[in-house]
């Protein structure tokens, strides 16, 4: 039994590493150019496949190992130039990556693999036609020695011999400089020859320069890439330039210096640091209470401790942060596949991939991003022919970028496609009864209609978009993360979505309020305004639901003491305070006894040790070490509706 446990622990690591390997393969394959492939890219893909094969064999996942073996031998052929890279090859290899991922998922969840599905891919792999790889073209070298070269003891022949060790060498002499034999200045010891050399080799510029190092200054030397190889290297350079600037570009896959740490360990560490912050704040309080003169030295020390603890907490929180690239990396494949199935052309440009966000945010933002990118290709980018007519380049452009702004991360998705058709949206919205016939809307309001539930303009439900899951889900997911999404669109020019998300879900600004003996926390972000209650503005609907006139609207009033079963101190309603919050759908007023301070709170889930509780977003530990509940503002209305339905038979709460 103990042995089993240990193995499963290793399995976890195997799955994790294989998943990373697959991602490396996928991104490598997407970068693989048809024709003459970049040897480094091929090597990366090959290495990833090789590791998966080895590890799968070790852990007894023989089906994965066998399948990867077929894949590996094809990659080996490509690597050794026995096989050229065709579009078909890349497609089948990508399919194989999918197949492998599926097998890994099955192995992880212990479900049975659909053998036919794998066999089909394997068959395609095995039957791939072998296409000869084009002859590699290498370096074009023009070597024109100065006449005195031979006198320095150098011999061009030796140079050529060394070049030959790098690959095939074609030598074409240039005799144009040889003077006439009867020329007065003719010196038989001078070198009048020049050479044009063609070196078929994937050697680097440095290696070639090194050979010519001895004759440097004694010759005119021009080393150029020739033909396809030049295109390839330029392509690579372009890619590298597109990647984040400011980083040393080596062309090789950058090794990230990281270690694998169980997330639980990190969370424990973060908890302990949080606890340290609390002990520290208790100490601060104790010192303040002390005799002033005696305490001044002590106070200094405590202040130092305070700075250090805050820093420690900030750093500890950062451990949970991950580069958003993890999510972005999936997108090129998505765009490529979509373009192929929709017969469109689009280039995806990614920037700001190194921006870091909390792991939880990262996990939850992936689906909305995939959805937005899918929409951009499906609805945004037009067919190449239409684009040409519109005077655009045939290939569309989609840009996705991430950047940090204060405590938020801003993700922008910009396409140069057709943009939103306001007319179509209006027709659709009327059809669906989302707006009244006579209603007059601004362009912005019309655009925002797409975020309403049940709205989709795709005329036919396609394979790509329009499965009924629409922008409303995207918006809700983002709202649930405490973020927002904005849209800007010009018809014919394209659309731009701006998503704003908190960097972390673990910390937020909280407004502490007191009800009776309990302290509750309201997220500051949700608060619109806090005000003293004026009796004349309070009304009742159906005798029980209380509403309050807030400016020009009536907002429902929620008595927090009733919702959370706490005994309030209030004798008169007017003694209380009303905190107006925005639930995302509407404004509501929350009634509390007293408003206390605002502070940053670390959100702890109730689910971790217990379960989710309706109406609560979680709990936090306050400065004095006690636990306080955090109100789930969007969930509060849902929760209250539940209560009203359940208690509608009971007596209404009397108004004072």
């Amino acid at each position: 039994m103990a042995v089993d446990l240990d193995m499963s622990q290793f399995h976890e690591i195997f799955f994790e590493e294989s998943r990373e390997g697959l991602e490396a393969m996928e991104s490598g394959l997407l970068n693989l150019d048809v024709g003459v492939p970049d040897p480094e890219v091929v090597n990366n893909v090959f290495r990833a496949a090789h590791s998966i094969k080895g590890a799968a064999g070790t852990f007894g996942f023989n089906n994965i190992s066998a399948f990867t073996h077929v894949l590996e031998s094809i990659l080996d052929d490509v690597r050794s130039r026995k096989r050229g890279v065709t579009q078909e090859l890349v497609d089948v290899l990508l399919k194989s990556v999918d197949g492998l991922r599926y097998m890994l998922d099955c192995a992880k969840s212990g479900t049975k693999v659909d053998e036919d599905r794998i066999a089909a891919i394997q068959e395609r792999l095995e039957n791939l036609p072998v296409e000869e790889q084009p002859r590699p073209v290498g370096w074009q070298i023009r070597f024109v020695p100065k006449p005195h070269l031979l006198q320095t003891g150098n011999d061009p022949y030796r140079l050529f011999r060394e070049l030959k060790t790098l690959g095939n060498l074609h030598i074409t002499p240039d005799i144009g400089r040889i003077p006439a034999i009867d020329d007065q200045d003719f010196d038989p010891e001078n070198c009048y020859l020049g050479w044009d050399l063609l070196l078929e080799s994937d050697a680097g510029m440095e290696q070639i320069k090194e050979i010519f190092a001895w004759v440097e200054g004694d010759c005119d030397l021009d080393i150029k890439l020739s033909g396809e190889r030049r295109q390839m290297v330029e392509r690579r350079r372009r890619r590298d330039d597109d990647a984040d600037t400011g980083q040393e570009i080596t062309g090789k896959g950058q090794e990230q210096v990281s270690i694998r740490v169980n997330i639980e360990k990190i969370d424990t560490l973060i908890n302990l640091v949080g606890e340290l912050v609390i002990s520290q704040s208790i100490l601060s309080h104790a010192v303040t209470d002390h005799d002033q003169n005696q305490a001044s030295r002590l106070k200094e020390i405590v202040e130092l401790l305070e700075r250090n603890t805050w820093e420690l907490q900030e750093q500890a929180m950062r451990i949970r942060m991950q580069a958003i690239d993890i999510t972005f990396q999936r997108l090129p494949r998505l765009v490529r596949d979509l373009c192929r199935s929709l017969d469109k052309q689009a280039e995806l440009e990614i920037s700001g991939g190194t921006t870091e966000v909390d792991k939880t945010v990262l996990e939850k933002i992936t689906d909305p991003l995939v959805h937005l990118i899918r929409n951009a290709v499906d609805h945004g980018i037009e067919k190449p022919a239409d684009r040409k007519v519109a005077g655009k380049s045939e290939s569309g452009s989609i840009k996705i970028s991430a950047a940090q702004e204060g405590g938020n991360i801003i993700i922008k998705i910009i396409d140069d496609g057709a943009g939103l058709d306001a007319g179509k949206i209006l027709v659709k919205a009327r059809e669906k009864g989302l707006i009244a016939d006579g209603e007059d809307l601004s362009l912005e309001e019309i655009h925002n209609l797409i975020f309403l539930p049940g709205f989709t303009t795709a005329i036919q439900v396609s394979d790509v978009s329009g499965r009924g899951v629409g922008m409303d889900v995207v918006k809700r997911n983002i709202n649930d993360l405490g973020g927002s999404i904005e849209l800007e669109s010009t018809q014919g020019k394209g659309s731009a979505f701006t998503i704003k998300l908190p960097l972390t879900l673990a910390i937020m600004d909280g407004q502490l309020v007191r009800i009776g003996k309990e302290i509750l926390i309201i997220p500051v972000l949700a608060i619109v305004e806090s005000l003293q209650i004026r009796k004349e503005l309070l009304n009742a609907v159906a005798g029980k639901t209380e509403v309050y006139r807030f400016r020009d609207e009536y907002i429902p009033l929620i008595r927090l003491d009733k919702v959370y079963g706490i005994t309030s101190d209030l004798k008169e309603l007017t003694e209380g305070l009303l905190i107006v919050v925005d639930t995302g759908q509407q404004r509501v007023g929350l009634l509390a006894d007293e408003i206390l301070s605002q502070q940053q709170v670390v959100i702890k889930s109730l689910e971790a040790n217990f379960q989710q509780i309706s109406g609560l977003a979680g709990a936090t530990v306050l400065g004095d070490g006690t636990v306080a509940m955090i109100i789930d503002v969007p969930g509060l209305m849902r929760h209250c509706k539940g209560i009203t339905v359940a208690s509608s038979a009971g007596n209404p709460a009397p108004l004072p």
Binding site: Y564, G565, A608, N609, G615
Partner: protein
């Protein structure tokens, strides 16, 4: 012997003898496997947790972790007493379908640690009433006293969390 007890018995047979921490509830002595016990704390007033079952007293801060505290007397339908200085919270770690939870149980007092071998454990008779015999792993007699060994994983997962969930609706 009922199914649960049999399964538990088999599971722990290879261990032979296990240590049990016992605690008191209204004069009765209950035991839990000591490997399940994380720590024992003095009683402190927990923060109220709204919309939960009556026996969920609230949550406490356990070194930065928010841990629910359950009242075993209330859960077993025993007579309630005012929780004072002598009451203790036994913090246990339970697992359920791969998930680990930390939960505090309020008891009157902790008593002893006993070495109990499997063959000492007798199956519990049909107890009826509020405490389902499924939560009882078996009964043991030590120095003439009866100790009720609890299947703490089952009690908390099936008898409390599921229960609390349904009472929330």
């Amino acid at each position: 012997m009922n199914m649960t007890a049999t399964a538990t018995g088999l599971r722990e047979q290879d261990a032979g003898t296990s240590q049990y921490l016992t605690f008191l509830l209204a004069g009765e002595e209950y035991g839990v496997n000591i490997l399940k016990v994380k720590e024992i704390r003095g009683w402190e007033q927990p923060t109220l947790l709204p919309n939960t079952a009556e026996y969920v007293l609230g949550v406490i801060n356990l070194r930065g972790m928010v841990v629910p505290v359950m009242d075993l007397r209330k859960r077993f339908g025993m007579q309630e007493i005012e929780l004072g200085k002598t009451a203790v919270v036994v913090v246990v770690k339970v697992t359920h379908s791969g998930r680990e939870r930390t939960i505090g149980l309020v008891v009157d007092a902790v008593s002893e640690v006993y070495n109990i071998s499997e063959d000492m454990i007798m199956p519990s008779p049909d107890l009826g009433g509020t405490i389902s015999d499924e939560y009882v792993k078996g009964l043991v007699t030590i120095q003439g006293k009866m100790i009720i060994l609890l299947d703490i994983d089952y009690l908390i997962n099936e008898g409390m969390l599921k229960d609390a969930e349904s009472s929330q609706e």
